[in-house]
Amino acid sequence: MEGVMEMANKEPRKESNRYSWAVGALSILTAGLGVVHILMRDVYQPGHPVRLLVTSLLVLSFASFVFFYTRTLSRLDEYQRQIHLFALAIGFPLSLVLAWAIGYFRAEGLLQGRDPRDLPLLLLVPYAIGFAAAWLKYR
């Protein structure tokens, strides 16, 4: 029991707030770059330097978001983990439904105008819904 309690004592660290800010900033940056990427597809041809730059920044931003998100999760206390678990419990099935629905509708000839590359960004929406539900439940 002592070992478990010592572990519980180490969970919240001061860096967690800093990482939370990084996660928030990177999620906004990633979403913004995603929108920019969608808008510029009709402006620049594939291989254009501007397009390559935005794509590289988007990938880098998304990868950084995942890195800091996992760092944040490892530093949450048990209550904060409960909130994130609740958010994932709602967000994960919603993501499955959304991904399958888009796939089936595309197979039926609908949603053909949408680019499959945008799906990962779209899947952030179910998690945001789950997080909002968790926030309402535990606030």
Partner: protein, 68 residues
Amino acid sequence: MKNRLKVLRAEHNWTQEELAQRVGVSRQAINAIETGKYDPSLPLAIKLGRLFGKQVEEMFLADEDMEG
């Protein structure tokens, strides 16, 4: 589950933030426990009990115990 955390904390004149730092959790966690929105894990409950010099069952009461 009901608890006496808020009363015990007030007896020691600690803020939620101070108590949170003493047991190594966030202030939000202490607030959620006090308001009954979250039941702490056994290690955290024991840690709180030791901090206040109480047994866990003196601090936390199950709903059915309240009815009885």
